[in-house]
Symmetry: C2
Subunit: 205 residues, 2 copies
């Protein structure tokens, strides 16, 4: 990686924590200069606009969020157990996120009207997360780990809605009560409604 590419990546990572906390409109050039230690020219040598930098900052924050949320899940063979780990990661691995919390929640609300390009990025991120979760459910159904009558799409939309809403309440209350309640409910739902009653031999945990 060239020196220029390294600097560009560093700017994106540092800008991400500003955009994710302050929002697009709330982020001033002076904030970005403070965070990166660069002058205006030093930043905009690498990016054509604030919009471009904000887009890359979102991609960066989202990549980190996906790594946190899918951490330690791929090796879990049973789909229900994997979904349970994902739910717990939402609760327990927030400190690894880019400062400011869930970039999807922030960008969905922040970029609602004012920034259609950023909004499109967030919509695609949501779609790809839902698809990835749906695949886990579908595979679990095929392997007999998940009840056949579970609608994969409904389950993943409901799960993500509950977690994102609880994140919002958490943030407002400055307490982990909402996320604790949401996780306990979703884990219980996975065990009592989602998990196939007759466990296949592939269930290991």
């Amino acid at each position: 990686m060239s020196k220029g590419e390294e600097t560009r990546e560093r700017i994106v990572a540092q800008a991400a924590s500003i955009f994710n906390r302050k929002g697009y409109a709330g982020t001033a050039l002076s904030d970005l200069m403070d965070a990166t230690g660069l002058e205006k020219g030093g930043i905009y040598r690498h990016f054509t606009s604030k919009q471009e930098l904000a887009g890359e900052a979102f991609d960066y924050a989202w990549k980190v969020a996906m790594e946190m949320r899918f951490a330690d899940t791929e090796q879990i063979p049973n789909a229900v157990d994997r979904l349970k780990q994902l739910i717990l990661n939402f609760r327990d691995r927030r400190s690894g996120l880019v400062p400011g919390g869930c970039p999807l929640l922030n960008t969905a609300v922040d970029a609602d009207d004012s920034n259609p390009q950023l909004r499109t990025k967030a919509r695609h991120a949501l779609s790809s997360l839902l698809d990835r979760l749906e695949l886990i459910v579908d595979e679990g159904k095929q392997r007999g780990e998940i009840c056949r009558d579970i609608d994969a799409r409904k389950l993943v939309v409901l799960t993500l809605s509950t977690l994102e809403g609880a994140l919002m309440l958490n943030r407002l209350q400055k307490s982990s009560e909402p996320l604790d309640i949401a996780c306990a409910h979703l884990v219980d739902h996975m065990e009592t409604v989602v998990r196939a009653k007759k466990k296949p031999k592939s269930t290991t945990r």
Copy 2:
């Protein structure tokens, strides 16, 4: 009401739809001037600061949201049916909100770091909504309409988290799928888990 008070109320209502859509940082004086048709002096004759106007705008947007969400609920005698109506109001009465959607979601995310006074207002609004919902659950338990083993606090935090998260997903997808799914799930939860099995005679719908 004096002419001055009338003007003040009109400014608050018009500013609310700007702050609720664009956020605190994203709202420029020029936006407020466009929305109200007033010059800077005409607006700030009535408010000491943007912060004060934003606070009153939040209170206004929240009051409207509460009217929409509790519409047609007070006359429903059974607590479970009342909660179900509240859930459906979240889905069906969004067009009556101040433009920009749920002021709690917007303010929780927007005012996270940058505006502690507005954040405090939103936290109090959340608290009072949760208390009001909890009271419905507690009264329903006392009247034997709701299972005795239901934890009122957990139920209302879970319900609100699910609805607010679904609102966020709706907004991003520009589709009502998430809220449809969330409402169907919550209504089913009310019927199958929350409603006391042996219905008391006061159940009328």
